[in-house]
């Protein structure tokens, strides 16, 4: 067992966990942040994507101990109070989700995609970049629409800041 200290959604947290504990289980089982999901055992599906120090990472590929000292943002931490993150709003407005299970990982990946491409995205790029996230419901059609829509919204939001 080890005590792991890190920052999650802006708050300093610590948890006493088995050394083999994955970050995703630290979040879900110890911190009750159940928005981050587990959809596979092989780091293929992307349902568990969170941001570690601003980069999208599959939280099932990281031991909790490896995340010590870092700043983790989960799906629960991206809205500003009642105001949704532009990516969240775009998923809702474009019907980019159905059962909702892959959605948190999709949104966290998509935010990172927009950041890495400075908002300059086209359909082919979005489809290519989403290959680490599996959705079984939507056929990706509306997810792609949502990411492109959000890229525009995030530019506007950034310009306003």
């Amino acid at each position: 067992m080890s005590i792991v200290k890190l920052t999650v959604n802006g708050k300093a947290v610590s948890a006493d966990v088995e050394d083999r504990t994955l970050l995703v289980h630290l979040l879900r089982d110890h911190l009750n942040l159940t928005g981050t999901h587990v959809g596979c055992d092989t780091s293929q599906c992307g349902a568990c994507v969170v941001h570690i120090d601003g980069r999208a990472v599959k939280s099932c590929t990281v031991l909790a101990g490896q995340a010590a000292g870092s700043s983790v943002t989960t799906i629960e931490g991206i809205a500003k109070g009642d105001e949704l993150h532009p990516m969240q709003a775009a998923f809702r407005d474009n019907h980019g989700l159905q059962c909702g299970y892959c959605t948190p990982g999709m949104i966290m990946s998509a935010i990172d995609i927009v950041h890495r491409h400075s908002g300059n995205l086209d359909e082919a790029t979005v489809r290519h970049e989403l290959e680490g996230n599996i959705c079984r419901c939507t056929g990706y059609h509306n997810i792609v629409k949502a990411v492109l829509d959000a890229a525009g919204r995030m530019k506007v939001a950034q310009a306003a800041e």
Partner: protein, 779 residues
Amino acid sequence: MGVEGIGASVVRKEDRRFITGKGRYVDDIKLVGMTHAHFIRSPHAHAKIKSVDTSAAKDMPGVIGVLTGQQIVDDKIGNLICGWAITSKDGTGMKMGAWPAMAPETVRFVGQAVAVVIAETKNQARDAAEAVVVNYEELPAVPDIRAAIKPGAPQLHPEAPGNVIYDWVIGDEGATDAAFKSAANVVSLDITNNRLVPNAMEPRAAIAEYNEPEEHFTLYTTSQNPHVARLVLSAFYNIAQEHKLRVVAPDVGGGFGSKIFIYPEEMVALWASKKVGRPVKWTGDRTEAFLTDAHGRDHLTKAEMAFDKDNKVTGLRVKTYANLGGYMSLFSSSVPTYLYATLLSGQYNIPNIFAEVISVYTNTVPVDAYRGAGRPEASFVVERLMETAARQLKVDPAELRRKNFITQFPHQTPVIMAYDIGDFGASLDAAMKAIDYAGFAARKAKAKSEGKLRGIGVSCYIEACGIAPSKAVGSLGAGVGLWESAEVRVNPVGTIEILTGSHSHGQGHETTFCQLIADRLGVPISQVSIVHGDTDKVQFGMGTYGSRSAAVGLTAILKAMEKVEAKAKKIAAHQLEASENDIVIENGEFKVAGTDKSLALPMVALAAYTAHNLPDGMEPGLKEGAFYDPTNFTFPAGAYICEMEVDAATGKSSFVNFVAADDFGRLINPMIVEGQVHGGLAQGIGQALLEGVVYDASGQLLTASFMDYTMPRADDLPSFKLSHTTTLCPGNPLGVKGCGEAGAIGASAAVINAITDAIGNNKLEMPATPDRVWHAIHG
């Protein structure tokens, strides 16, 4: 249509919790004192269990109990059942072998549960499972249909000689044979319908809690139909009486059929929670999903179509072998029979049809309904035959279809179904226009000049949804009625709760069902809540599958609403001193027509509950229920056309365009309907190009993870061009047909027709991987 009424693309009410990470799925739930289960599963496809030694595991840290298959038999927990009886052509019943929730003596597929460890933590349960020693005596395995039907093949169940579960026929064999004898042309095809894994993104999970003084169980489970789960668990599995078992299906992360069935893990969790006196949680991992969720499809078919000299179809003859796996899952028997062969007429006027279906046991995961369930297999047979015939007869494939379309309705097919309405020409026209069918020859020539192979493929599907008239399915062997129930509760302050037996696991019922209420009463959907997925709240229901929730579930709500409106009008008329017949409902108000007198819904509701001034003899309250049993299936239909380009050097196929023109009757929420079509198309395309289960000769599942089984990803798929044509379903008052499965039913044939057109070789199996396509091009 109001801004939130029927026909409006209202943004979903349920989305906010999902996009903020506040959805509540089974694995998100923690109970006080909760323990964790881990199953010990067979590594062999077929074996005798010589011994199970749990002694070392019992001494491991945190272990509360280790339970075995023998104990579940000793406790008289019932075997899993198949709820649809199929009769063979010789009049005998289906040959069902016993399926205990954990195997006491024999295992028949890799992954079958043998024992379970219950421990304080998930890791402790997993560690202890490693210490359970099971001694097996391996038996020869039957990994597929061909091996199962070989003379002298190893036997799976003593009840099923030759591994045959039933040999079932439908249609007129003599008349069909005669049609083939007098045919001007006959087209024939051998078809493999590849085996698929549903792979809802949320793995199955269950939490069971036993309250000893009350002798009461609660089960949280990933179910598409919690009431059916409760019924089966109580009536057949001897776990709890129905009134002592609450089943809750909270947010469920996709189902696609795989979460209809009651699985061993839920049974064991319930049984174990009583044994250990603590709540028991089991959450499957992805490999367990591959090894235990019911698989889909898996047919071997020989199909022939007869044409007269005018290219009219005169007969269809089909022989199909269906793989049901190692045991018969809950509705497995019905999928390759009544959900498959009854759709073999497609959109065409075919006077003579005969089909024989032989279902067999193999040492593989049980096979049951997966999105479309039998109808994708039927549509693939018919649409591959049509395309093949057009090439053989040297006529345009779209025009050959059009020549044979059914144009008069109602139309009785030779295989039970009576199509109520449709306009197949309209959807074909819409799809041809959307893809510029007329311009294809020029595009193909241009592609050829650039060294690329270009092909176009048509698929005109029909399906039977709105499952189903109870009397009809009862006469065909179903063990349940397939009506739906609803209750409308108007609260004293005028807000409304709709209790429904339908269950949403991605379909958006919390929005679409509210749209009906907004349409009827003119109240905002924020005033309406949908209650579902809890047997303590909703009295009964049959759940969501078979694209039934609008046609059957929403119609039940409408029937209950009509009763509420009738009573509310009486109350309003009494309060307003007007005639009940003069009351109209507009914008949430009960108005006396032609006057300025009105009473808002909250005032009517309050009057109903205060009961100070009600008409003489009227009961207080404003709550009504209804059970709705449909009179017929509904028949969504449409035309899909796919244009593909193949790189001859690599065998890689790429989409140029995919268009879909569907007729679903009235659309409640077009945005949600289109989402359903997108998802269905992705699964149909996945089957055609990417997905396929592979077992080796010993029965080991080689495709047991997302590393090995190709799920469609964003860059495998195109953006889709959708359109709708409309004939209103005459069978229900809303005119709706259902849209959940269409894409999965129609898409595969369009893709394979396009690729085989491009490469000029009709022999190509699914999934059409680059390797297979390359070999089809180069021999």
